[in-house]
Symmetry: C2
Subunit: 380 residues, 2 copies
C-alpha cells in the first residue's frame, strides 16, 4: 500500500481579522504550507479546499476554481464541505486521492471568513450544519443543541459546571502559548462560571468564538518528511440531534475512532497527543469519552485530573482548541493536523509537549455530531 | 490497477417540481440507483453528494450527513461542490475513492432544488459560480458571460445566430424522446431567434432552464455490469472570464479532455456518443471545438452538418442536454453519466442511438469554464 506523508503545514493567525479577506487568508496559508514542504506550487497536482459557509458569508461558491486561480495552480481542484468537519474531510479526500495513485502532491486548504461579512449573521450561517427543516427552522441554534447535550450529561453523570469550565480554562492556558490563537489570555473557572449564559447551562466562555482564519498542509506520496498520515476514520450519525438514541453519546466519534484504530492497528494507549473538537466545553468531555480515553460519564473527572493538560498523560488541544485558538469552521480540521505535525516534529515552540511522541490524533466534528473524522499521524 | 464499474443509475423527472422538495428528490434518485445496481443500501460504503447551492436556496449545508441520514446509510459521506460541474466532480471523487481501495461501492448523488425556494433568486444563487468580487459584484450574470463569449465567437469565426439556435433545436428534439426531460416539445430555429433576448446575442431559447431534479449512480470495484468508468480528466482555468487569454476557448475543456484521453488511451474517433455542457447554445459549440471533434471556429458548421444529431457520427445530448432535459445544477453531471450508461447498454428507450457503441463521454463545465471534468465510460 502507498504511504502518505505530510510534508508541510501552516496556519494563519486566527481571530477577528477585519483587515483580511477570504482569499487573502487562503492564499497566505496555502503558499506558506507549500514553501514549508520544500516543493514548488507547480508540483501540486491536486487542490482540496475545505470550507463550510463562504456561500452564505460572501456569496462565493466554486471554491476549488477560486483558489486554483488565486494560487496559479494548473491542477484539478475540489471543494469539500462537511460543516465544521470540512477540514478533516478534505484531508481524508486528499488521502484517498494519494492512495489511488492519481496524484503525488496534494494541497489541502481550509479557510473561513466569518466576521465582517455582509450577507448573513454567523449563527444563521452555521445553522446550515444542523437539520434546517427540523432544527434550525424552529429556532434551534448550535449553542442550544450542545446545551441540551450538556444538561443531560450533567443530569445523568453528575458532570459539573466547574468540570465543563476546566476544558475552557485548559485550552485558554494552551492558547497563551500559541501566537496564532484567537485568544491568548488565561481565564479562570470562576470567570467561565460568571460569564453570560448563552444557552443554559453553557456560558459564553464554554463556547468557541466566531473566527477568521486559514490553515493548509501538503500531503505527498513521496517521502519528504518524517510524518505520515496512517489512518482516517470517517462516520456519520443522524443529522438532527433528536433522532439519536442517546444524546450524551456521539456515535459518529465512536465509529470514526474504531475505523481509524482498525486502519492503523493502534489503541488508545498508543496515542501520545491529540486535538479534539471543543466547539463547546461539553464537546471536549464527549470527545474524551467517545474516543475511548475514559468510560462514558467520566469525562468531567478526566479533565479535572489534569491528564489532558500539557504535561498530562494525553495532552489535548495544545493549539488552544477551538475555544482559544478559534474556530474558522473550514480551517479547523486542517489546523488540528498542522498542530499535531508541529508537536510530533518538535516545532511547536513554547507549547511543545516535552515527551517522546510517536502518534497524534485529530478529532473533528460536523454539526452536533452528524459527521466525525478521526485522523491519525505517525512520526516515523 | 483496480477497475471501476457503473452498476446502476437513475434520474428523477427534471423540471419545475413544485410538489417535490430537495430531500425527496435526492432520496428518489439514490434509492432507485441502488435498486438498479442490484445491491442493498447497506452495501454502500461511501456517499458523495454533488450540489452547488442548497446553502443559498434552502439554508442547508452538511449535505453528506443529510443524505446519509435520509437514506439510513452507515458510511462516510462527502459533499462535493464545483459549481455546475459538481456532479462530475463527485463522480471523479468516487472514482478516486474506489481506485484507492478504501471503498467497494460508492453512491454518487447529484441534486438541486432551484424553484420554489425562499431565500434568494436563482440568478443570485448561480452567481456564486462566477468570481463574486470581480464579476458578480459588478452585475455580471451567467447569461452575460456566455453572451460575451458568443459575440466574440460570432465576430471571429462567423458563427451565426442560426447555428447557435440549431443546438437548442437539436436538444429539444432529443428531449421529446426523454420522459424525464424538463421540456418535451420540439422548437424551431425561427422560434429560438424570435424568443426574448436574455443577453444579446443569446435569446431565451439559447439558455438552459432553472430546474429541480436529482440523479444518482452506483459505482463499484466489483463487476456487476458491463460498463466501466475508465478515465476522468479534470482541469481548471481562471475563475473570471476576463482573466483568460482568449474567451472563445475553454482551456479547461482542452486540458480535461487531454487528461481523460491520456488515461484511457483513446482518441476523438473512438468516442461513439457524448453528453456535453450546453448551459447556453454557445457552450455546446465550444464543447465540439475544445473537445477536439472539430477545429476551433468550426463548431457552428458542425451542428449544422447534423453530425451531432441522434443519427449523426457523434450523437450529442440525447438526454436533451441542459437545454431541454433541464439543469438542476448539482444533478447535471450525474445525469450525463446516467444517460451515457443507458445508451451504451441499449436501455435509452425511444432515444436509443441505433449503432454499435463502445465508448461514451461526458463533458461538464463549472461556471464560465473555470472547471471542466471529462469522464469516459466503456462498454466491455
Amino acid at each position: 500500500m502507498k504511504q502518505v506523508y505530510v510534508n508541510g503545514g501552516y496556519t494563519t493567525k486566527f481571530g477577528e481579522l477585519w483587515k483580511r479577506d477570504f482569499r487573502d487568508l487562503g492564499v497566505e496559508a496555502a503558499v506558506n504550507a507549500v514553501q514549508n514542504s520544500k516543493i514548488n506550487l507547480q508540483d501540486i497536482d491536486v487542490l482540496y479546499v475545505a470550507n463550510m459557509a463562504a456561500s452564505h458569508y460572501t456569496g462565493q461558491d466554486h471554491l476549488g476554481a477560486l483558489f486554483a486561480t488565486e494560487l496559479g495552480l494548473d491542477c484539478p481542484a475540489f471543494h469539500i464541505e462537511a460543516a465544521c468537519a470540512s477540514g478533516s474531510a478534505a484531508i481524508r479526500a486528499g488521502f484517498l486521492d494519494l492512495l489511488s495513485g492519481s496524484s503525488e502532491n496534494a494541497l489541502i486548504l481550509g479557510v473561513e471568513k466569518m466576521t465582517d461579512v455582509n450577507t448573513k449573521n454567523a449563527t444563521e450561517g452555521l445553522s446550515g450544519a444542523s437539520d434546517e427543516e427540523w432544527e434550525a427552522f424552529y429556532g434551534v441554534t448550535f449553542p442550544s443543541l450542545y446545551a441540551m447535550i450538556a444538561r443531560e450529561h450533567m443530569n445523568r453523570y453528575g458532570t459539573s459546571h466547574e468540570q465543563l469550565a476546566m476544558c475552557s480554562v485548559k485550552n485558554h492556558k494552551h492558547g497563551t502559548l500559541n501566537p496564532d490563537a484567537h485568544f491568548q489570555k488565561e481565564i479562570t473557572v470562576e470567570q467561565v462560571l460568571r460569564s453570560p449564559v448563552v444557552a443554559d447551562p453553557l456560558k459564553l466562555f464554554d463556547s468557541s468564538p466566531i473566527s477568521d482564519g486559514a490553515a493548509a498542509i501538503v500531503m505527498s506520496s513521496k517521502k519528504k518528511s518524517e510524518i505520515r498520515l496512517i489512518a482516517s476514520g470517517h462516520a456519520q450519525d443522524s443529522l438532527a440531534l433528536h433522532d439519536r438514541k442517546d444524546i450524551t453519546i456521539l456515535e459518529a466519534t465512536i465509529k470514526a475512532k474504531e475505523r481509524a484504530f482498525k486502519q492503523s492497528k493502534l489503541k488508545n494507549k498508543d496515542i501520545d497527543i491529540m486535538e479534539v473538537h471543543d466547539c463547546f466545553s461539553i464537546a471536549e468531555i464527549l470527545a474524551y469519552e467517545d474516543l475511548g480515553f475514559v468510560e462514558k460519564g467520566k469525562g468531567g473527572q478526566f479533565v479535572e485530573s489534569g491528564d489532558t493538560q500539557m504535561d498530562g498523560s494525553i495532552p489535548t488541544n495544545l493549539s488552544g482548541g477551538l475555544k482559544a485558538a478559534g474556530h474558522p469552521v473550514g480551517a479547523t480540521g486542517v489546523k488540528q493536523a498542522v498542530e499535531i505535525v508541529k508537536q510530533l516534529t518538535g516545532k511547536a515552540g513554547k507549547r511543545q509537549v516535552q515527551k517522546d511522541m510517536k502518534y497524534g490524533l485529530t478529532h473533528n466534528i460536523g454539526g452536533s455530531g452528524a459527521t466525525c473524522i478521526v485522523n491519525i499521524f505517525e512520526k516515523i
